[in-house]
Symmetry: C2
Subunit: 103 residues, 2 copies
């Protein structure tokens, strides 16, 4: 029934991006630009990881009024473990290959 969680290329890409600086808080918008993921993919993904305890999330007030508040994310200990296990590939290397189809 259930598929093994958090194994998609997209998820791995996000984990790799977060693993590059494991203690830093990152914003969804920045991650979307770094990984190339669109919001409709990224935010549900971040929320899943957060629900599963791999990320901690926190709201930050915007610096300028009129801009949206920002949601900051960071890997938890479990998240770091998962990221190391799933994304041993170097952080910056091959930022989400379009397909890598099997022939």
């Amino acid at each position: 029934m259930t598929r093994a969680p958090n194994i998609s290329r997209q998820t791995i890409g996000v984990l790799a991006a977060l693993l590059a600086q494991p203690q830093a808080w990152r914003y969804g918008y920045d991650l979307s630009k770094e990984t190339g993921l669109k919001s409709g993919t990224l935010y549900p993904l971040l929320m899943r990881l957060s629900d599963q305890g791999y990320l901690e999330a926190e709201w930050r007030q915007p610096l300028q009024p009129g801009r949206p508040a920002r949601h900051a994310y960071r890997l938890t200990a479990n998240g770091v473990a998962l990221a190391r296990q799933r994304a041993q590939a170097q952080p910056g290397a091959v930022p989400l290959q379009p397909s890598a189809v099997r022939p």
Copy 2:
């Protein structure tokens, strides 16, 4: 050289919308839907009127996190006078006719 300020159909439309409930605080987004003006027209217009003392503006914190703070606008006494003078046409009537070209 200079054209008389605040006489455009668009400006009059906004003034009329505000004059419908002169004491109410209105949001830019709502006004844009009510008048059909796009943000690139509406916000500069609101800022001009505000700079000229016809509107008072105020930031409101968003109800839900993740959404932008909202800028609320209301006519000042001067603004009410200007609106009455420029927009005697009924508030709801003819909501910004597309062209009304002169033949």
